[in-house]
Amino acid sequence: MRAAIATSLPESQIAPAAGGVQARGIEKRLGNVEVLRGVTLDVAAGEIVAILGSSGSGKSTFLRCVNLLTLPDRGDIWVHGEHLRLRPISERDSEPRILDHDQVRRVRASIGMVFQNFNLWPHMTVLENVSAGPVLVNRLTRKAATELGRGYLAKVGLSDKAGSYPRHLSGGQQQRVAIARALAMEPKLLLFDEPTSALDPELVGEVLRVMTALAGEGRTMMIVTHEVAFAREVSSRAAFMHQGRIEEEGSSPAFFLNPTSASLRRFLTAHDERHS
């Protein structure tokens, strides 16, 4: 039976693994720039993968391809073993397309994303921000979602801010609310897109502490970050992107201690100098 199903599907659509994320040959052009030039990366369930690279290396674009906020021009993505149904660009179509919007919404609901600029909704209270997703997407009752929301706000240490509006919170607090909002969907995968880059230096620590706590819970996480020390500490594996490709990947901490490619060595050295 299994063989029959397998032969009826094109080879590219057979899930390489049951959980986590697999990306194969992801290409993306934005304007005249080839941002991604065939990125292949596997993230097993329970793994924490840090993605490093200088600005413009394509790391954020790649992360956004995982939940399809950016549609890859070419390539295949599996999330939790499910192949995302996309139509790649061709001579007829210059834009890639989503073929199954229901699938995309379902997959997105199972992936939490934390953005560089927090992106909280300013017209809702902190608690409303956190409980909106569970009510609207996961169809929880308002009461259950509120309880859930309060639980996750407590987890990020912001129980006392439930009734505040985002405007009245510091950047670090806003980012912790954004993490609670992602967690309240009880996602199987968390994506972090430079979560501390927009923060004042003194606020970075509180966000990293929350993320470190999450890392200890066996969650699957993909983290795009400039914080090399943090990446070394929490990640099980790391990938270095350079000019739209993955230049090097490896298990932590060997990746950080013995980089093989010249560009990663330069990146790590430059980082050490800045932070010593």
């Binding site: 992106n119 909704w121 609207l136």
Partner: protein, 214 residues
């Protein structure tokens, strides 16, 4: 007094065409922002043409054009009623102007707040209703208020096709009672009363939609 009836008609005309016009404006704004090019072109033509033609002409075109069109369709002479023609004309005009206001307001919402909604798996209509609409309203409200003042005043144009609104009552009264100044001043006071009321309502709305806690 005849003015009471006129006032009722003017208010009803403004409210109905304003409400319908905002719906048309929202849909037109969404169409202008859609990825579907033909829709953008058609709706773009609508807003450009309507905003480039005097309101009075649109009213006459709809009233007389509508009468001709419906008569030839039904096969006998049918005169469309002045109120319906007025609602239709003002809805078309109001929709075209508010479409531009709404479009600009949507564009000024931070893209990230919409992406956050998408990343949680919200359906596009949920995103529109719960995120885009409330965020956009606070930006659109001042311009929208101005447009409502215009609308209230433009209802007076419908008196041209015989609708018994404030303007019509004043004109008739001015002629038959030979007291134009009195009647037109009374009409002015009524319009001023309506626009002041609208001002109060919009001030309240702006406070309601403002970022709370400031």
């Amino acid at each position: 007094m005849q003015f009471v009836e006129g006032l009722k008609t003017t208010v009803l005309l403004a409210l109905v065409s304003g409400a319908l016009g905002m719906i048309v404006g929202l849909l037109a704004a969404a169409a202008k922002l859609s990825r579907f090019a033909p829709l953008r072109v058609v709706v773009g033509a609508y807003t450009t043409i309507v905003r480039g033609v005097p309101e009075l002409l649109i009213i006459l075109l709809i009233y007389f054009g509508g009468t001709v069109a419906i008569s030839s369709f039904v096969g006998r002479y049918v005169e469309i009623n002045a109120f319906s023609a007025g609602v239709l004309a003002l809805t078309i005009v109001f929709g075209a102007y508010t479409a531009e206001i709404f479009r600009g307001a949507v564009l000024s919402i931070s893209r990230g707040q919409i992406e956050a909604a998408r990343s949680l798996g919200l359906h596009p209509w949920q995103t529109w209703l719960l995120i885009i609409l409330p965020l956009m309203m606070r930006i659109a409200l001042p311009a929208l208020g101005n447009q409502w003042f215009s609308l209230i005043k433009e209802t007076s144009l419908i008196s041209i096709v015989g609708l018994t609104d404030i303007m019509r009552v004043a004109a008739v009264g001015a002629g038959s009672m030979r007291a134009p100044l009195t009647f037109y001043l009374a009409a002015s006071a009524l319009y001023l009363f309506l626009t002041s009321l609208a001002l109060v309502v919009f001030n309240l709305l702006e406070r309601r939609f403002a970022v709370r806690g400031h």
